[in-house]
């Protein structure tokens, strides 16, 4: 049973990790907690749902299109809600982010209504038995796609020129711009990539839990944020680690302590880790730039 619960935790955690990446990338670049990220995730799930059910597009293509449209929405939110506030206090941008979050979820409520939509299962229901655990085809898909996306992101950030520019911008915006890096463009790309990952997580959770609602972004958005903080906000491997850990903590809390204290266990873990490592598991202590 322990291994089965561990698997449950890793699969749940991999969706948290994908959401956490969006938070952490944006924070790394402009030190903004993008609270509208949960709504990008919800938007991705709805786009995937509509493409699959209404337009009858094959699932894989719908998945990619949802990511593309999700990143478009992320860039639009950045352009309309955050860019005009770039020079004002960080608090204003944070309030703007909360406003964008409410606006998007209420817009979805207005358009789609509050009843849950059922996501059709794109795969035949198949279950694989191993000596230690059982895993379904959907779970394998979720796990593999998250892994692939995370590897692709790591490659993008570490090995490409744009990735290098992103890392430079994160380290020091002013110096990076002196080196000829177009900061606005880098910020746009960061939002695009982070939002694409959020939308991907939305589609995957859609096929995993089989329902899509306008308010679905709130809790996972919060959990993704917690995962990002847990791993050290601004740190990409940290977000992956934080997501997986949070998933495992939640499942283990439900399995071995009490299913009603599930969130309490997960958040208690957050508090304990932050007490001992205030910058998160992989985060470096913040240094004031002089």
């Amino acid at each position: 049973m322990f291994v089965q619960q561990l698997m449950n935790g890793v699969i749940l955690g991999s969706t948290y990790a994908l959401i956490a990446l969006g938070y952490t990338m944006v924070y790394g670049i402009i030190e903004l907690i993008n609270f509208a990220h949960g709504e990008i995730y919800m938007f991705g799930a709805f786009v995937g749902l509509l493409l699959v059910t209404v337009l009858d597009i094959p699932f894989f293509l719908a998945f990619l299109l949802a990511m593309a449209l999700g990143s478009l929405l992320g860039v639009t939110v950045e352009y309309l809600a955050y860019r005009p506030l770039r020079r004002s206090s960080r608090l204003s941008a944070l309030i703007s982010a909360i406003g964008a979050s409410f606006f998007l979820s209420n817009l979805a409520l207005l358009i789609m209504g509050s009843q849950p939509f059922s996501f059709p299962n794109p795969f035949e229901a198949k279950i694989y038995h191993t000596p230690l655990f059982i895993i379904s085809r959907v779970e394998i898909t979720v796990l593999l796609s998250s892994l692939i996306l995370m590897i692709a992101l790591t490659f993008f950030v570490q090995r490409t020129k744009i990735g290098k520019a992103m890392r430079a911008t994160a380290q020091d915006k002013d110096t990076a711009s002196l080196m000829g890096i177009n900061i606005d463009r880098i910020i746009t790309i960061t939002f695009a990539v982070g939002s694409a990952l959020g939308a991907a997580a939305g589609v995957m959770v859609g096929i995993y839990f089989r329902t899509v609602t306008p308010t679905m972004g709130f809790m996972p958005g919060l959990k993704g944020f917690v995962a990002a903080v847990l791993g050290g906000i601004g740190n990409i491997p940290g977000a992956m680690l934080g997501g997986i850990l949070l998933g495992i903590a939640e499942v283990m809390g439900a399995a071995y302590i009490s299913s009603q204290y599930r969130d309490a266990v997960a958040f208690a873990l957050l508090i304990i880790i932050l007490l001992f490592k205030p910058a998160g598991l992989l985060g470096r202590p913040a240094q004031e730039k002089v």
Binding site: M1, Q4, Q5, N8, L12, Q115, P116, S118, N121, A125, I127, H129, I134, S136, V138, E139, V205, F209, R210, T211, M219, E250, V251, M252, A254, A255, S258, S259, Q260, R262, D263
Partner: protein, 374 residues
């Protein structure tokens, strides 16, 4: 003016006033039988009260149109309590003393019936509640009846059905941690323990999506049945995730699962699920379909369980008038004698305490549809 003529004028004035009061009293309309109704038509519980009143209206319209009561015409007098039990006592008094009703259908909420029951008893006006489920409500009050099963009775019948008809014996319970879920869990656990074995009990929070930790634990205890104490969205997901984990046990639930969305979301995973319900609007029997059509025509929406139970309560009153007679006392005797009355919420009898004996409906998901199996 002499003392004598003064008294004569006063007496005459009082007499005139008394005669005027008799004249304007609504009591004397010939051939009209007055049905009172008490319920919340405003406030948080307004939906219940409005639907109850609408159900009564459908039954009354039907009886008046068909002429089944001969020259007698039924008329409904309704009083709003706003969901407040203290106003319920006044509402009962007003219906009895001012409107002079012959029979009352109400209250809707248990607190209303508890406040109004003694008043109806003192005035000897028979009262039947369509929906007050509190325990022992009708005890020691020969004028108070009800036409609804208590929550416990519904759930106990599901447990009995599972053991006796479906041959299940190892129950796992997964419930949502709110009033509704906890009461389902408590009642089902008590009855299932008495009849068979409860091997696992797990809870979850409202709006949860991931039930795998709980289901993994439940699977360890090797149950043959999973009772879901919750609503349809979570029920559908639990069913799917259970199937994904190869936990292929019989799924049972209560009226919270009885919504088409259960099947829309759960698809093949909820096939074969059993759930209890107070009313089933898709039941193809003519009585139910006639009611649903008439209700939709008059009120423009589908009837719910409250409307159906109120309709049945009104039909029980009408039946009592037909079999026993139109005076309040005769109606009381008629209601008390109700036995195996074919209501749209199931065959209904009234026991010696004035409580309902009724088989709760059991629905099953078959080929993507709810069908009534009992």
């Amino acid at each position: 003016m002499s003392r004598k003529s003064y008294w004569m004028i006063v007496t005459a004035a009082i007499l005139c006033l008394a005669m005027a009061m008799v004249g304007c009293s609504p009591e004397e309309e010939a051939g009209v039988l007055k049905i009172g109704n008490v319920g919340p038509l405003t406030g948080g519980a307004a939906n219940y009260g409005i639907n109850v009143l609408r159900g009564i209206e459908v039954a009354v319209d039907e009886a008046n149109a068909s002429g089944e009561l001969g020259d007698l015409t039924l008329k409904v007098y309704s009083e709003d309590t706003g969901g407040d039990w203290s106003k319920a006592a006044n509402a009962f008094s007003k219906l009895i003393d001012v409107d002079k009703v012959d029979v009352i259908i109400g209250g809707v909420l248990s607190s209303e019936s508890e406040a109004g029951g003694p008043i109806a008893k003192d005035a000897a006006i028979p009262t039947i509640s369509p929906s007050s489920t509190s325990a022992g409500l009708t005890l020691d009050n020969p004028y108070l009846f009800r036409n609804c099963l208590s929550d416990e009775a519904q759930i106990e019948q599901m447990a009995e059905y599972a053991v006796n008809e479906l041959g299940l014996g190892r129950f796992a319970i997964l419930y949502t941690n709110n009033d509704y879920g906890v009461s389902l869990k408590d009642s089902f656990e008590a009855k299932a323990k008495e009849l068979a074995k409860v091997v696992a009990i797990e809870g979850f929070m409202d709006g949860d999506e991931n039930f795998k930790p709980q289901l993994t634990k439940i699977k360890q205890s090797n149950p043959d049945c999973l009772y879901i104490g919750g609503y349809y969205t979570e029920g559908a997901k639990i069913a799917q995730q259970a199937r994904e984990m190869d936990l292929n046990v019989q799924i049972l639930g209560a009226d919270g699962l009885c919504n088409v969305a259960l099947i829309e979301i759960g698809e093949e995973a909820v096939e074969g699920t059993y759930a209890t319900s107070g009313f089933y609007p898709d039941d193809p029997t003519p009585a139910v379909q006639n009611f649903v059509t008439a209700y939709k025509e008059k009120h423009g929406e589908d009837p719910d369980m409250f409307a159906a139970q109120a309709y049945d309560a009104a039909r029980i009153v009408i039946n009592a008038i037909k079999t026993s007679g139109p005076s309040s006392e005769e109606i009381r005797e008629g209601i008390a004698a109700t036995w195996n009355f074919p209501g749209i919420t199931g065959n209904t009898s009234i026991d010696e305490e004035g409580d309902t004996i009724k088989d709760v409906l059991i629905l099953k998901v078959e080929n993507g549809k709810f069908v009534r199996v009992r």
